[in-house]
Amino acid sequence: MPFRQINSKMVEATVTPGAKIFSQRGAMLAYRGDVSFTPNLQGGQGGLASMIGRRVAGEAAPLMTVEVHQGPHGRAGTPTGTVLFGHGGHHIQVIELSGDTLYVEADRLLAFDGTLQQGTMFMGSQGGVMGMVRGQVTGQGLFTTTLKGHGAVAVMAHGGVIEVPITPQRPVHVDPQAYVAHHGDVRNKLSTALGWRDMVGRGSGEAFQLELSGSGTVYVQASEEKL
């Protein structure tokens, strides 16, 4: 796996020749080896069509491609590089994917394996109207980024992150501001605990929750602040 956690706010990625890592632009802290960083105009993979899709969706985080060059002595002399990533002093959580899909907001993505398939998903397609309201409530927009395949993803959070398992018997409710990412076979919808008391301004401060049901994992940060 290419990501090694150095401490809670730094990860080290190993880059081998021929392999790619995508990272948020400006997230490199240090590197060793013959590593190159090129701004990724297409904002990931999937070509032009997918880029336009992401632009429209507002999920086009500026990315860069991280690669190592072939060494001067051909394959025998090709080095591997190591790169340290971190950003803004945020907590970093490494999530391993084994064929399933990770749902995460683009601005929380720090770096990910180049083999992962990137896409966007319209939140309204899950949970109907409440799915669309979700974006408004959380301030996250109507689209979210998806990453699919086998590989690792490093995501950022404010404060530490806990993993909460979702099982068919036990749906999990998450504060929209504390939600970081989720993966697995999960449906999400916005639920409200609004009663007449909340309408007259006596709310407990927990009016909206994101309800995740199915089976998978949701990542929750120890804070209700955005990045």
């Binding site: 907590h91 404010h158 404060g159 530490g160 992150v161 806990i162 909460v164 036990r170 749906p171 999990v172 409710h173 998450v174 504060d175 504390a178 605990a193 008391r197 006596r202 709310g203 407990s204 401060g205 927990e206 929750q209 949701v218 929750v220 940060q221 120890a222 804070s223 209700e224 602040e225």
Partner: protein
């Protein structure tokens, strides 16, 4: 009784089986099972508590969380400390109180001049009874023992809570130099004497004392 456990140092998980806890408004980050959230007001129960709250300004908005399952709480990524109370009283700044067992009584107490220098008002919150409480601190807190032979002096901005049979007095190191603008930046302290525990955080809130 609800079970309190730390998941990492910044997330509190409370397992409930039909019982209830009191928590800072809006501090829930996730839950599974069935939970109901109801707003309450701090400063003690009943009419007397309400009057005290009005007078003291020690207002904290508290919610009651009741249900079956696990509820996770966190507050601005601050560190969480668990305190076990066995009939004693815990004194804590309202802003630092994250969650308590519903069986614990909360109230307010007069702190004297100390509160004024902290910018927190003249009153502090008390938690009394048997059960668990969770307090937050900016950075991991240390628990310092106060005994008859060893009194303790604490920076008002770093103080978060104390428990036990402790007397607190206010100390001022204000001298002529302070007024000349050559003070050491440590003009006020709180001195604890007696027998108990004091929770101190590795960070200093901005207090009036810090400016002197």
């Amino acid at each position: 009784m609800a079970t309190f456990r730390l998941q990492g140092s910044r997330v509190l998980a409370v397992d409930m089986t039909g019982d209830a806890v009191k928590a800072k408004n809006g501090s829930m980050v996730a839950y599974d099972g069935q939970m109901a959230f109801k707003k309450m007001s701090g400063g003690g129960e009943g009419i007397r508590g309400m009057v005290t709250r009005r007078v003291t300004g020690e207002q904290m908005t508290v919610m009651e969380v009741k249900g079956h399952g696990t509820c996770w709480f966190a507050d601005r990524a601050t560190e969480i400390n668990l305190v076990e109370l066995r009939g004693e009283k815990l004194y804590v700044e309202a802003g630092n109180l994250l969650c308590t067992d519903a069986g614990l009584r909360t109230g307010t107490s007069f702190t004297g001049l100390r509160g004024a220098t902290q910018g927190n008002g003249l009153f502090t919150t008390t938690v009394e009874g048997t059960g668990q409480a969770a307090i937050v601190s900016d950075g991991p807190a240390v628990v310092l023992r106060v005994s008859r032979q060893y009194p303790l002096t604490v920076d008002p901005g770093a103080y978060i809570a104390h428990q036990g049979d402790v007397r607190q007095s206010f100390q001022s190191g204000v001298t002529f130099r302070t007024f000349m603008g050559e003070g050491g930046g440590e003009a006020f302290q709180i001195r604890f004497e007696g027998d108990g525990l004091v929770y101190v955080q590795p960070s200093e809130r901005t207090t009036i004392a810090g400016d002197v």
